[in-house]
Amino acid sequence: MFSQIVIGGFATGCIYAVVGLGFTLVYRTLRMVNFAQGQVFMAGAFLGLTIAQKLPMPTPLLLATVGASAFVLGLALERLIFRRLYHNHEVFIVGSIGLGIILTNSIRIMFPEPVPFPKVFGSEVIQIGSARIPETSVWIVICTVLLVVLLHALFTYTRTGRALRAVAADAETAGAVGVNVSRAIGLTFGLSCAVAAIAGVLIGPLYFVSFDMGDMVGLKAFAAAVFGGINSIPGTILGGVVIGVLENIAGGYISSAYKDLVAFVILLVTLVWRPSGLLGRETPVKV
């Protein structure tokens, strides 16, 4: 039973981690929190659903298509909305919450009811010891690792990635030395939407998809990012996995009524005890 609970929580935790990455990417660049992240995750799941139903394609291609579409959506949202909001953190927070509500209700009009998601990752069940793991969970973990590796490669080895890091470290200086700052910010939003949407497709086959699926996941992903260190990519991944596993253990051994509590107790304790998170830095100044 223990291994089952830990493995189940690990897969869910990966989803928190990937959605949390979206928070981290935007925060690193703008020092602002985009609260529409959970709703972008939800919209990504429905985008994946629609594509998979209308135009069946191999799963890697589906993930890439959804990621690319969400990337473009992120660019567009940045250009049309976020760019006008991020001059002020309060305005940005309220604006992103509003955007999330709009996304939720637009999807609600089209899909008022929960919908089953095609089993794009197969429906085998893998037995490891006494634990039984749906194939989808395994793919969630694999894809999370792949995403992190890809992001790492992007930030470390590409010119664009280095530009993004430079903007994250110090936008003003980066701008002064010729980095296109507004393009970098646009790309950041694109990337954050892309990872959230991919997470939506990853989790879709495990559960049903519904218009309200992003609310709680978004909050938990935010808790994961803060817990791990909202300016640290490895920290967010760690935070997501820890929250996923701990809440499942609490749900299994204490009471599932307190399952949701875990993420938020962790969030609160982190904020009081170590506001910069496990792996976050107090003043992230890089040269």
Binding site: M1, Q4, I5, G8, G9, T12, F35, G38, I97, G100, I101, T104, N105, R108, P112, E113, P114, P116, V125, R132, P134, L206, Y207, F208, S210, D212, M213, D215, M216, G218, L219, N248, I249, G251, G252, S255, S256, A257, K259, D260
Partner: protein
């Protein structure tokens, strides 16, 4: 914080009048969750009302007065349900037939009670709805206390279950069912092997199901609704749990088979309506499915049958004899006694406003609800 915000920001009510209301029209309020987790039930309630009212109006109305429907969506949310009910009160409806979800009805019936409008509940089963406190609220579907007691007895005596695990929603429906079920099991000399709970919006049930799996149960009673219940069934089978599922009215929804096509096979439950009970029920079902096939939402007959019968068999005759005087209307509804298609024998209201009747047992087979004939 945010989910709460978005909850309130979602428009609380949707108003759909089927016809422009005239001064003399009788205003019939319908409240239910037509979005959110209760959508598939709420749609059924709306369809039943539309069909009944269409037929009554086509036949000349009630003593020449047409019935105008006022439909409000409470988004399956107790807080919004109160707002939606206030909307019906301010629309000055003559009576209300509807309501889905025990938590919502327990919240919104207070509004109807205070306003003094007869309220016939069709889609909520918590025993606390019909007590000696409610004056204006009636209920036509069986309460959990009846359903849970009957399914406990069937589990032990007809299905021969010896190790029963219970999974329940922490809402009023789930807890109400659990309490009665456990008390009934005790009377039958059985203790559950494990009792675990979940929240309506939960998606991942591995934690709960791991406990069920390690308890080696041969029966799993699920007291919850769509979509959590079918999600749990799918995950239970993935986890290798072979226990047979049992449940009450919360599972009695066609979406159970859509969302858990394989996993729901063999589930035995008490339901509220099945077309094979009598010929009139069969004829009505066929008419109903014909009416709504090809509509934007698939036909959802179970709660529709209650809504339809509550309007046609109870409300319309009372509107004809008592008019729209609210107090006379209330007294007329309370003294109803007679036959309703799909229910064996005569039915009548108890002192607390509960319509007393026998439950119908069904089993999921070949992707549909079949009359349960097992021993």
């Amino acid at each position: 914080m945010k989910s709460k915000l978005s909850g309130f920001a979602i428009a609380a009510t949707v108003l759909i009048g089927t016809a422009a209301a005239h001064a003399q029209d009788i205003k019939l309020g319908v409240i239910a969750g037509m979005s959110g987790p209760g959508t598939s039930y709420g749609i059924g309630i709306r369809q039943g009302a539309e069909m009944a009212v269409k037929e009554i109006n086509a036949g000349g109305g009630v003593k020449g007065r047409k019935i105008a429907l006022v439909v409000v969506d409470d988004a399956s949310n107790p807080a919004q349900s109160v707002t939606a009910m206030q909307r019906l009160v301010s629309e000055k409806v003559d009576l209300i037939v509807g309501g889905w979800g025990s938590s919502q009805v327990l919240a919104n019936m207070e509004v109807a009670e205070r306003a003094g409008i007869p309220y016939v509940v069709v889609g909520a089963t918590n025993p606390k709805i019909t007590t000696d406190k409610n004056k204006w609220t009636f209920r036509v579907i069986p309460a959990d206390s009846d359903q849970a007691e009957q399914i406990a007895e069937a589990a032990v005596k007809r299905l021969g279950m010896k190790r029963i695990a219970v999974v329940h929603d922490v809402n009023d429906y789930g807890v109400g069912n659990r309490d009665v079920f456990l008390a009934s099991l005790k009377k039958l000399g059985l203790e559950p092997v494990t009792v675990v709970s979940y929240q309506s919006n939960d998606k991942d049930f591995t934690a709960q199901l791991s406990r069920v799996g390690s308890s080696n149960a041969d029966g799993l009673a699920i007291f919850g609704t769509i979509p959590a219940a079918p999600a749990m069934m799918n995950q239970a089978r993935d986890l290798g749990i072979k226990a047979r599922f049992i449940g009450t009215g919360g599972l009695a929804n066609e979406n159970l088979m859509t969302l858990a096509p394989k996993a729901s096979e063999g589930t035995v439950l008490t339901t509220l309506f099945h077309e094979d009970v009598d010929a009139d029920a069969k004829a009505w079902s066929q008419r109903f499915v014909k009416e709504f096939s090809g509509a934007a939402q698939p036909a959802r007959p179970i709660l529709a049958a209650y809504e339809y019968r509550a309007i046609k068999t109870i409300a319309a005759p009372c509107l004809a004899s008592a008019g729209t005087d609210r107090d006379k209307l209330r007294q007329c509804i309370g003294s109803f006694k007679g036959r309703m298609f799909g229910i064996p024998g005569e039915v009548s209201f108890s002192k607390t406003g509960q319509l007393q009747q026998q439950s119908v047992f069904v089993e999921v087979g070949n992707g549909a609800f079949q009359a349960f004939k097992g021993k």
